[in-house]
Amino acid sequence: MTGTRISGGLVVLLLIFLTLGTLVAVGLRAEDLSGLGRRDWAAVRFTLWQAALSAAISCLLAIPVARAFSRRQFWGRGVLITVLGAPFILPVIVAVLGLIAVFGRTGLVSQFIGLFGLEPVQIYGWHGIILAHVFFNLPLATRLILQGWLDVPAERFRLAQSLNFLSADMFRHIELPLLFRVVPGAFMVIFLICTTSFAVALALGGGPRATTIELAIYQAFRFDFDLSKAAQLALVQFAVGGGLAIASLWFRGPRGQGAALDRVVSRRDGSVWQDALWILLAAAFLLVPLVMIGVKGLWGVSELPDSIWPAALRSVIVALVSAGLTVALVLPLALLAQSLRKGGAAVEAIGYLSIAASPLVMGTGLFILTFAWIDPILLALPVTVLVNAAMSLPFALRALMPGLTQAEADYGKLALSLQITGWARLRWVILPRVRRPLAFGAALAAALSMGDLGVITLFANPEVQTLPLALYQLMEAYRMDAAFAAALLLLTLSLAIFWLIDRGGRVDVDA
């Protein structure tokens, strides 16, 4: 009990330091708070409207796709729904490269319309950023909205059929209310995610009309070493993220986990061909870029520079350590949140704080606090590990809490009557019950860390290059064959590391 309190309390302090403490550190360094310039405000405006547009497009397109999934059973449906969860662990820079292969100047789309004498399309700029955001968030929106569809009791659809509802009646009486319930929450989540976009904007944006706040922080720090500006932008970013996080609490989104997505509501309304078309389009939009990575990557393997292998090794180590650290942070935090009768919710909320925080601000803050004493190059990887673990924490916590509450409800009394306490309780009662969600959280952390192109860019240096950074630099140098091969390597490693750790939590689990 006291052990739980102490270790949980330490995690709370660490998280407050990482999210708020680093913000203060950056703020104190800011010598003159003369206010932001025109270009900075342009970045703030761009961040907000591109996020709103990305979220709106994702949700609008997700509605017909989710409806098609909800009422059609077909071969490969389960696999496709699993694939809808994949963008979450897909390295951003890999997806961007895949999109370039399809929508870039020499991509598939440009080649196809070139047959009709049309000009090639251009992916760099604000529309490329939105395209990439839709690529990442259309699957998320689809899953959230599909969940809403499946939460409607099957009896209601049967009743509608017995009353001879037409498609329009079905839409008005059943589907419209459910969309009103589900879509605002999905929109807010995606809006929030898109306001913290960095890697997409780094690769596809830049320039006055396509710079997000995060990218502006990076530029202020890396190019101008203007800490005041970085600090002010960091404060704006935190206000935007925090404000949206609080706002999104008002929308009770659908429960994203638990309930099975494999159920199909049997319905006879609507056009099969229309549903098939939506599913095909969505699948093509998501899968073709990844297939291009596979094909072009294999083609370019011989072009890989030797330096890619040490970078890959570094990334694997960063991912594994980060996953371990996430577990070491989330477990005491969750146990503390669970054991406190009052204040448990507040402790849990601190675990979600890093959603609103910016990894670049954390990195900048840690740099400011330490660079007088320690060589930044030495700290690059440890800082990356720490920041990645903090950024993964909300997802790990979200996965862990329900299992922990369940274990406590089912076996807390029995443990109490047998006087199983302290370490023995953790070892024999709690851990075996939460192995699966804990491993899932660790797997997520490893995959996110593996593909992360965020805080590491602040310290970009050949000695501490990670695989995503090496890939980005190959793209910058227009060594596209090598870049595709590196992307294939990164994709393979990310998926493999996720699968291995997640699987570790599943084997030999009883009841």
């Binding site: 089912d410 029995l414 009557s417 047998l418 024999w428 075996p432």
Partner: protein, 232 residues
């Protein structure tokens, strides 16, 4: 050996006053309408619910403020008596050593307890590989090892079939007699009460009364009970 002196148990708007004592070695049924507070009474005795007033003592020692695990009693719940991820042996061994670090003598004691309930050789299985009756036997084996003078049964055999339930009640009676264990059993089945318990406590109208002979209570039930039992 068990005395409740003006013990008041409160759960939300519901409250129950218990004023009773139970003799050592007695087997007492706890009977009453649904929602009258039978399980609340057991939760109070076991220590999951602290009384808002009154004192509770077991074997002459006051236990009102002791933690559940420190009280001289064992309890079997309706379900979740076994950890599904631990083997039968480990589940029983938890009764001796919560950290599962057993000496050779303790290992022998666990095996002897399993033998006593007819489950010798089942130690390496997981609960899911056992029948409902066998799972109940594992839980009983653990109470044997703990050697506490009071055993509380909160309908642990409710999910078993009639024949199996009688078999388990007989086993409880047998093990109880061997050790002189005092037994308190919540039941909604009058036949179970008659079978195992010579005495019964009536829980109704926010009160738990002193034990009386089971057959008298069931043969001439007061109004609250006869409405629940549903026969004349």
């Amino acid at each position: 050996m068990l005395t409740l002196d003006n013990v008041t148990l409160t759960q939300g708007a519901f409250s129950l006053v218990a004023n009773l004592s139970v003799d050592a070695g007695a087997r007492v049924a706890v009977i009453g309408p649904s929602g009258a507070g039978k399980s609340t009474l057991l939760a109070g005795i076991a220590g999951y619910l602290r009384p808002t007033s009154g004192t509770l003592s077991i074997e002459g020692r006051e236990v009102t403020s002791l933690e559940p695990g420190q009280r001289p009693l064992s309890i079997l719940f309706q379900d979740s008596n076994l950890f599904p991820h631990l083997t039968v042996f480990q589940n029983v061994a938890l009764g001796l050593r919560p950290n599962l670090r057993l000496t050779d003598a303790e290992v022998k004691a666990v095996e002897a307890a399993l033998d006593r309930v007819g489950l010798a050789g089942y130690g390496n299985r997981k609960p899911a590989a056992l029948s409902g009756g066998q799972q109940s036997r594992v839980a009983l084996a653990r109470t044997l090892l703990r050697e506490r003078p009071l055993l509380l049964l909160d309908e642990p055999f409710a999910a078993l079939g009639p024949a199996l339930k009688v078999e388990m009640l007989d086993l409880v009676a047998q093990l109880g007699d061997e050790r002189g264990t005092t037994i308190l059993m919540v039941s909604h089945d009058p036949d179970d009460a008659r079978h195992l318990c010579d005495q019964a406590i009536l829980v109704a109208d926010g009160r738990a009364d002193a034990p009386v002979a089971t057959h008298e209570l069931l043969d001439n039930p007061p109004d609250v009970l006869s409405a629940y039992l549903g026969k004349k």
